[in-house]
């Protein structure tokens, strides 16, 4: 399995029947495709849709039906469309059960940075800042280290924040961490990785919560 597969397969387990879920752009979108058939959830898109279905059959794409990643999608039976203010009423008001987002850096305090690299072109935060403060449960999925082998799981984020103390759970290709009152807690090792391995690749201080 690739690192991406490890992360996505683990993230899928976070999904429970009955949830209203927002999946971020990029790797989180892959979670939708990996959901087991028959799982009973509604996927929300922050541009203004609840009940995203699969991509359209070729030839049926509709410019008036896209997700937050601007991809053409379809709607499930029982879907609804609404304006973007109502969409963020759902998000900011705590009506979305789960948001899964990508990350550039995560701190041991549950801070997330995923929208801006100083010196590079600013693209904008889109709906990420609203999602991290609003969703009932925020899960970040990302590679544990960057392409230079440096830990993306930090004592403190070096990049500008998307949200402060907002993450409930972090899933990387190496491990799963929870953010608690006591601090950041390692709760699971993934894909055969060892505690030593994870410790070596993690700048953040964490509590070993493995049983």
């Amino acid at each position: 399995m690739t690192a991406r597969d490890v992360i996505v397969q683990r993230a899928v387990k976070e999904v429970q029947d009955g949830m209203n879920i927002n999946l971020g752009i990029g790797m989180p979108t892959l979670v939708a495709d990996a959901l087991p058939a028959g799982v009973d959830v509604l996927l929300q898109s922050e541009n203004g849709m609840l009940g995203i279905g699969p991509y359209p059959v070729e030839g049926t794409e509709d410019a008036d039906l896209i997700n937050a990643g601007k991809e053409t999608v379809t709607a499930v039976n029982g879907a609804s469309y609404f304006d973007s203010a109502t969409s963020f009423s759902m998000i900011r008001g705590g009506h979305i059960d789960l948001a899964i987002l990508g990350g550039m850096e995560v701190s041991q305090h549950g801070d997330l940075a995923n929208w801006m690299i100083p010196g590079k072109m600013v693209k904008g935060m889109g709906g990420a800042m609203d999602l991290v403060v609003g969703a009932k449960r925020v899960i970040v999925i990302m590679d544990h280290v960057n392409k230079h082998g440096e830990s993306k799981v930090k004592k403190a984020c070096t990049l500008p924040l998307t949200g402060r103390g907002v993450i409930n759970r972090l899933i990387t290709d190496l491990a799963v961490f929870d953010f608690t009152e006591q601090g950041m807690v390692l709760v699971e090792l993934l894909d055969g990785h060892t505690l030593e391995d994870v410790t070596a690749k993690t700048e953040a201080e964490f509590i070993n919560g493995l049983t």
Binding site: G59, T72, V73, S84, V122, G126, D130
Partner: protein
């Protein structure tokens, strides 16, 4: 109460240099493409634009950028546009990045007579810098201001001559909010229908928020990311 006019060229003549315009759409979906083209043709300068995105290099608000008609852009995401990047790096355009939910709420608030509201979005981030942060019930919130624009450009699916609008699918997005935020709201639609053809329970934007209605012809409705699955297969 007949708000229907015919000419896009004529209707944008009321928009002076330096005007602020709230523009509907998300990405290239549900954008008022004809009104933007008319404003490009008119060459109106020094615009302040409130819109979630800024189009792409050769379509939507990107066309106004290319002609250097935009002075200030208030948006949540401008990452699809190289012209924007260039002008930003050259200091030719002023940009105010606003989280998407905050932008949506600011437009609705301005259109609703609410001058300011508190939101949890952006606390502890660069977005909160220079803004009032205040506690309610032990949590911190940022004060954000409502937006009232001189004009709004919106794109609907159908309208009647009073200016009642229905949108189609996710092309709704920011359009109803821009309609509220504009002092003068101009709506372009794909079809103008008889009064009474829109059921009162289905109207998305009531007529009171709309001052002018125009029907556009041959909508291009570009797709930014065409994602499909093969027939009968998975994505």
């Amino acid at each position: 109460m007949d708000k229907v006019t015919q000419s896009f060229e004529e209707i944008v003549k009321q928009i002076p240099d330096g005007a602020s315009i709230a523009v509907g759409g998300f990405g290239l979906s549900g954008i008022p493409e004809k009104l933007i083209l008319a404003l490009v043709a008119q060459g109106t300068k020094d615009l302040t634009i409130y819109s979630n995105n800024c189009g792409v290099d050769d379509w939507g608000l990107g066309l106004l950028l290319k002609e250097r008609q935009i002075k200030k852009m208030v948006a949540s995401y401008v990452g699809e546009n190289k012209t924007f990047e260039q002008q930003f790096l050259n200091g030719e355009i002023d940009v105010e990045l606003t989280p998407q939910g905050t932008l949506a709420e600011r437009l609705r608030a301005g259109g609703s007579g609410i001058p300011a509201f508190y939101t949890p979005t952006g606390v502890g981030t660069p977005i909160a810098e220079g803004k009032e942060v205040r506690q309610f019930d032990g949590e911190e919130y940022v004060l954000e201001r409502g937006i009232v624009a001189d004009f709004a450009f919106i794109k609907g699916w159908k309208a009647d001559r009073y200016g009642n609008i229905v949108y189609r699918h996710t092309a709704q997005n920011f359009n109803p909010l821009c309609a509220m935020a504009g002092k003068v709201t101009i709506a372009e639609v794909e079809e103008i229908v008889e009064l009474g053809a829109l059921l009162p329970d289905e109207v998305h934007t009531p007529a009171v928020f709309v001052q002018h209605v125009l029907a556009g012809q041959q909508y291009e409705k570009r797709i930014e990311k065409r994602t499909v699955r093969s027939k009968g297969g998975e994505a």
